[in-house]
Amino acid sequence: MKTIEEKIHAIQNLDDAALEQLADDAGVAVPTGLGDRIRENLAAAALAETAGAVKTVSPQRRMFRRILAASLSAAAVLAGLVLLLQRPAGPEDTFDDPALAYASLQQTFEYISEKVRFGAGMAEEALPLGERPFEILKNINEK
């Protein structure tokens, strides 16, 4: 009587032709659920191979990364606050008297208008020059 180990050893040493013959032999009862168990084992082996290919991050490293991200965020917010608080204070009003401020404002608008007149004046001078090409074309057409 062969022991189980001897039987397993004998099965392992079977060649492909002998295995096919055994598979075709209807007299050999196939244990129920064997196909499903084989498929499960193959799937588990494939998963294990994939998991081995992907690097997993250890919990400690993951915690370290979270702490680092939180620290950098806090530092960025603090830096922003410091920059905001250190903004130079607004300038001081040049005038204490509102009437003087108003006079200055009036002068400012007069200066702006002077510049507008300067630009508009140049545009007005250039207008006749812009009409010249049309006059030339008109003369050519009339001839």
Partner: protein
């Protein structure tokens, strides 16, 4: 990590925008040698608006309708060789970064002038003027929420007033 980098970039960008405002240009050049500077704050504009009878002066256009909509006036005027080119470059950067629209540009006989405004079709939120006149340079920045129609009418009225004086 991406979020941190993005937040840092946004903070730097906002800091850069602050650096190109009328106030920043005023702060940079107002203490320079030979420069005259004028600043009128929103509080001062409110005080001006409360004066019951403002002495407008003979023939001068009344600005009080526009005053209530102004929140800041910055004027820098100084020698061209000291601050002119650098300030003019800063003004151009400000116009570009603040989405200012070029209203008018003129150059003639040693005078250069550029005018910009920003806002909507109904409102002027900012007005810039940069003028180089021989050896003098001038920067004017107006901030506020001025109704565009009123602002344009005011400039036109003062321009017309000026023509009569000439």
């Amino acid at each position: 990590m991406k979020r941190i980098i993005l937040s840092l970039l946004f903070m730097l960008a906002s800091f850069a925008v602050f650096a190109q405002s009328g106030r920043a240009i005023y702060n940079r050049y107002s203490d320079a040698e030979g420069v005259s500077a004028v600043y009128i704050s929103p509080q001062m504009f409110r005080l001006i608006g409360r004066i019951p009878e403002l002495n407008v002066g003979d023939g001068k256009v009344d600005l009080t309708p526009v005053i209530r909509s102004l929140s800041g006036l910055y004027i820098i005027s100084g020698p061209m060789d000291a601050i002119g080119e650098e300030m003019h470059r800063d003004v151009l950067k400000m116009a570009k970064s603040g989405n200012y629209e070029l209203l008018m540009e003129a150059k003639d006989d040693g005078q250069t002038m550029k005018m910009y405004s920003t806002g909507t079709e109904q409102t002027v939120k900012g007005f810039l003027l940069s003028a180089l006149d021989g050896d003098e340079c001038t920067f004017i920045c107006l901030d506020g929420e001025m109704p565009r129609k009123e602002f344009e009418e005011l400039i036109a009225a003062i321009a017309k007033d000026g023509e009569k004086d000439e």
